[in-house]
């Protein structure tokens, strides 16, 4: 697994940070926020792209591509896997994103207006494209198998891993790098979300702004980064003595068919999605121990997601740990599903459930066990990751402890 997030520039650093309940949210430094209602976000900190890419690559490629490359290098290193002529054609990549090269689009539009179209960089067109994270990772590592890019907004990372899971299960690939990448902390994104009133404006205390399930939550906090996992067919993994963190056992995808940006009361589509994933995994609701929730810190999502969990899990919802790591990382949009799959897997591997921080006064209607304030040290055998995107796109993955 590999990741660069607002909480750390590796899986290890990020995991340590979220288990310690540390927030990665701060003031936006990427652009002048004077005219913007929201001035906070989860930016990467002290990330050195030159550790993973050449100066030319950093200059030419949008940040979301660079983040994916960095995460992919760390993921393959962690997996102890090299891709070569022997396995290249059976190794593929699916990296999702909500908006891809948005900062390149904004920058080059300014270039046209200021200097004319001749001054646009020749690398800008490819750099804008959402599939270029997958594309460039494939170039860097020689991945010649299936390639794709889920673009289901906040569900894209989860759908990418789900798609990769299916390709391996159906025999089309032995290895898939999958997850999400996003670098959308830009004027257009922040401004666009602001006029929708989707973002928290808690600028005075950035670290307290993302407060999922809390009575005083007032919107989501954007984050950036990339989270990628290396999925491998079991016989291939066993054959090379791979370190197996967990097993992917179920994946669900459903649509709300309701509204462009808001979930319906009760979030019926999300409930169905969890049920579809459970059925795919051959599991009952009682088999799940931990849910890494979508938990965006918006009025509607957190309430309706709670209702959906209760509908699916019934009595068992009282015994579930339902945490939102977005309280610390912020919402990484297309990359959220990628990093949150990593958190679900780590919870199984380490037996630690990261907390939901800033849960000072739970919303009375949000009454599940959200693992408030402090991480919980307890064995985890099964974990579910839920992400729900604009357009009513729901995606759920289920992970299980691997037993030989």
């Amino acid at each position: 697994m590999g990741a660069v997030t607002p909480c750390g520039n590796s899986v290890q650093e990020t995991w340590q940070g979220v288990c310690a309940g540390l927030s990665g949210i701060g003031n936006i430094t990427k652009f002048d926020t004077t005219d913007f209602k929201t001035k906070i976000a989860g930016e990467l900190k002290r990330f050195d792209p030159l550790q993973f890419a050449t100066k030319s690559e950093v200059r030419r490629l949008d940040d979301f591509i660079i983040y994916a490359v960095a995460a992919s290098v760390m993921a393959l290193e962690d997996a102890g896997l090299s891709i070569d002529a022997g396995n290249g054609e059976r190794s593929g990549v699916i990296i999702g994103t909500a908006i891809g090269g948005i900062s390149t689009i904004e920058k080059e539009k300014e270039t046209i207006m200021r200097e004319g179209p001749r001054k646009i960089s020749p690398f800008s067109a490819p750099s804008c494209l959402p599939n270029l994270a997958a594309g460039y990772v494939s170039i860097r590592h020689g991945l010649k198998g299936p390639i794709n890019c889920a673009v289901t907004a906040c569900a894209a990372g989860t759908d990418s891993i789900g798609g990769a899971f299916r390709l391996i299960a159906d025999g089309y690939a032995d290895v898939m790098i999958a997850g999400g990448a996003e670098a959308a902390i830009t004027p257009l994104t922040v401004g666009g979300f602001n006029v929708m009133r989707a973002l928290s404006t808690h600028n005075d205390e950035p670290e307290k702004a993302s407060r999922p399930f809390d009575r005083d939550r007032n919107g989501l906090v954007l984050g950036e980064g990339s989270g990628l996992v290396v999925l491998e067919a079991l016989p291939v993994a066993l054959n090379r003595g791979a370190k197996i963190y967990a097993e992917v056992v179920g994946y669900g995808s459903t649509s709300d068919a309701f509204h462009m940006a808001a979930p319906p009361p009760g979030h019926e589509g999300a409930a169905r999605c969890m049920a579809v994933a459970l059925k795919d995994a051959g599991m009952r609701p009682e088999d799940i121990e931990y849910i890494n929730a979508h938990g965006t810190s918006t009025q509607l999502n957190d309430l309706y997601e709670t209702q959906a969990v209760k509908r699916v899990f019934g009595e068992h919802s009282r015994s579930l740990a339902v945490g939102s790591t977005k309280s610390m990382t912020g919402h990484l949009l297309g990359a959220a599903g990628g990093i949150e799959a990593i958190f679900a897997v780590k919870s199984i591997d380490d037996g630690i459930i990261p907390p939901t921080i800033n849960l000072d006064h739970p919303d009375p209607e949000c009454d599940l066990d959200y693992v408030p304030h402090t991480a919980r040290i307890v064995p985890v055998h099964t974990a579910m990751s839920c992400t729900f995107g604009f357009g009513g796109a729901n995606a759920v993955l289920i992970f299980k402890q691997f037993e030989d």
């Binding site: 100066k55 030319s56 030419r60 001749r118 020749p122 690398f123």
Partner: protein, 78 residues
Amino acid sequence: MTLEEKVIAIIVEQLDVTKEECLPEASFIDDLGADSLDLVELIMEMEETFGLTIADSELEKIRTIKDVIDFLRSKGVS
């Protein structure tokens, strides 16, 4: 800095090559590993630095570092 030194500095920066590799006869594509997009970006940087415009037809004639320097000289850059 002489014109040669300025040109080589740009090439080193843009193509991730070393000064030592930048011999006058070095071909951008065959010796310095540049592809067509690299070349376009390189020429744009030259345009920016030396304040001139290079037409696509003129670009076709530029194969080596010497070609670039000769071309710039012919446009009055020194």
